[in-house]
């Protein structure tokens, strides 16, 4: 890897292929590990349905329970801001859309660079604030281990390096773009091995919760 261009080519080529393979195979394995465990048939006479209430819980848990919101508004609002901000940067930045178009063959309208730029700043600021909260809040600090901080870093780096690349802060550009792509690959590789997996397992968890409560006649 003699030059920034070589580095960029490696990151976009073999490194990306490896990361993608780990990401896809890893997630499939993790999901299979869960669903193949199954659950015992429930012999108690049901009071309500499972399927419908399960689906409803998948949707309703997107909004916080009133008491939780009152007690922990920062956790709830911060969570919304950075998740939505991350998705906007990922899916509505025009160069990202062009890249995805070249790979997947589908495209959609993007947002202006100024808006995405502002969203990136807000997202980074929120992530930093949430990190400080994790370190200072008694419950979160108590629960947190190295993995929690590692996944924070994995979520933060793509936004930060993308921001640096867009503003041409570091030179040469191929180097900073390469670092940005590498940070995405870091995130992808970590996915199946960490709690980043919740991105794919939360619908399952919510469904089981809603289904088991629904069977007892309660909407959870």
């Amino acid at each position: 890897m003699s030059s920034p261009i070589d580095f960029l080519l490696w990151v976009k080529g073999p490194a990306f292929d490896i990361a993608l393979a780990v990401f896809v195979i890893g997630i499939v394995v993790r999901l299979l590990e869960i669903v193949l465990l199954g659950r015992k048939q429930d012999l108690a006479e049901p009071k309500g349905e499972e399927f419908g209430p399960g689906l409803r819980t998948i949707v309703t848990r997107t909004l916080p329970e009133a008491g939780s919101f009152k007690q922990s508004p920062f956790t709830v609002i911060g969570g919304y801001i950075w998740h939505i901000g991350f998705l906007i940067c990922l899916l509505f930045f025009v160069p990202h859309i062009e890249l995805l178009h070249s790979v997947l063959g589908i495209k959609w309208p993007g947002l202006s660079n100024h808006i995405v730029d502002a969203v990136a700043v807000v997202t980074m600021a929120t992530l930093v604030a949430m990190l400080i909260d994790r370190i200072t809040h008694s419950v979160k600090r108590f629960l947190s281990g190295p993995e929690d901080y590692l996944v924070w870093l994995a979520a933060f780096l793509p936004i930060m390096t993308g921001y640096l690349a867009y503003h041409r802060v570091l030179v040469p550009y191929p180097l900073v773009l390469g670092i940005h792509i590498l940070s995405i690959e870091f995130l992808m590789v970590l996915f199946p091995f960490t709690k980043l997996m919740h991105t794919f397992t939360f619908p399952l968890a919510r469904w089981y919760n809603g289904a088991m409560a629904g069977r007892r006649g309660v909407q959870s």
Binding site: V29, R30, E33, I34, V35, L36, L37, G38, R39, K40, D42, L43, A44, E45, K47, G48, T57, I58, R61, P64, E65, G67, S68, Q71, S72, T75, V76, G79, H137, S138, V139, K140, R141, F142, L143, S144, D148, P192, F193, K195, M197, H198, T201, F202, L204, A205, R206, W207, Y208, N209, G210, M212, A213, R216, G217, V218, Q219, S220
Partner: protein, 422 residues
Amino acid sequence: MSKATLERGLNALREEIDAPVAAFFSSCVNCGLCAEACLFYTETGDPRYTPINKLEPLRRIWEQEFTLWGRIKKALGLAQPVTDELLQEWEPLVYDACSLCGRCSMVCPVGNDIAYMIRKEREGFVASGNAPEGMKGASTRAIKVGSPMGVKFHAVQAQIRHIEADTGLEVPVDVEGADYLALLSSMEIMNFPEYIEALARIFKQAGVSWTLCSEAFEATNAGIQIGSSDIAAELVERVVKGAEKLKVKYVISPECGHAYTAIRWEGPNLIGRRYPFKVVHILELLDELRAAGRLKTQGMDEARLTFHDPCQIVRKGGVLEPPRNLLKQVASNFVEMSDHREMNWCCGGGGGVSANERADELRLKVFARKKSQLDELNVDKLVTACANCRLMLEDGLEEYRVELPVVGLTEMLAEHLVEDNE
């Protein structure tokens, strides 16, 4: 109970891991929101009482043995094993500081049913010998004597004689072919026999064919609370045998929260077969009688009163409307607590906490949550539908020096009964 060892405990934990458990652990991001839903945390501020933290032993088994990455880490010696020391350290968190109320399961943003997992985790604690003495005693008495409080049927007979002498009504026992078999909780037999009298009076008026069973009168299930499926199954089997012998169509779960969970929801799964009868909670039956015009009451209680939702009957049992429908028939000034129905706060003594003397101090401390809910309302009466809740509420109110009568809903309805003897 057979000899408890760490190995048996670990095996029990392994057996409890299913797809929901794996989905739940995979989804937790340590956001900490469950803490604010748990009265053991809100009233103490102790982060160890965060619901998801109480599951650390079960979580380790899942990660190390049910995920590929966890197995690799374990093989490389990077995993923290589940040891006797860990289970000992966690035992008070799992038994003293969790009433299985399930409130945390209602708020988790990724949808984790934490109470479902604590119930499962307790199986591993019992099998490894790490359960509180008070609950072990209750379980042993339930198996050997027939009741966790050591109540035998002659104690029930003594109460029946009193009731029959006082009211002139008959309390049927061992009547084959009756429609309904009524179960009781030890606490009703010993502390609140008014419940039995209320049943006799209401069923007389409504023309319900019912009976008690001398071999299966106890509805409570210490096995469910301590987390021993073997014990729980044996206790359920007694009821099923009694009901089958008397050929009843229905079994009535009494005003007791976990009894309903035991006989209604866990029972068929514990014994591995469906029942030849239906299980109804007493409030469900009374509400059916009300709707059919068979529960005739007169007069209204004008006191400002509220209803404490027993967790296992309401949030975990789905008996949401019957207590409201019934209360409205006899109370003109019924007000709801700030958090009610499926978001109600526990009395603090569910899930076996009340049978665990070691937890008394903590239980009374966290009762502050219920007290503050009651303070907001300024009520003159508190109604509930669980003998255990009722005892815990009375105990808590006494501790906080609050003068507030606590009554059972069934008994309250009986007081307003029209006795027309037609």
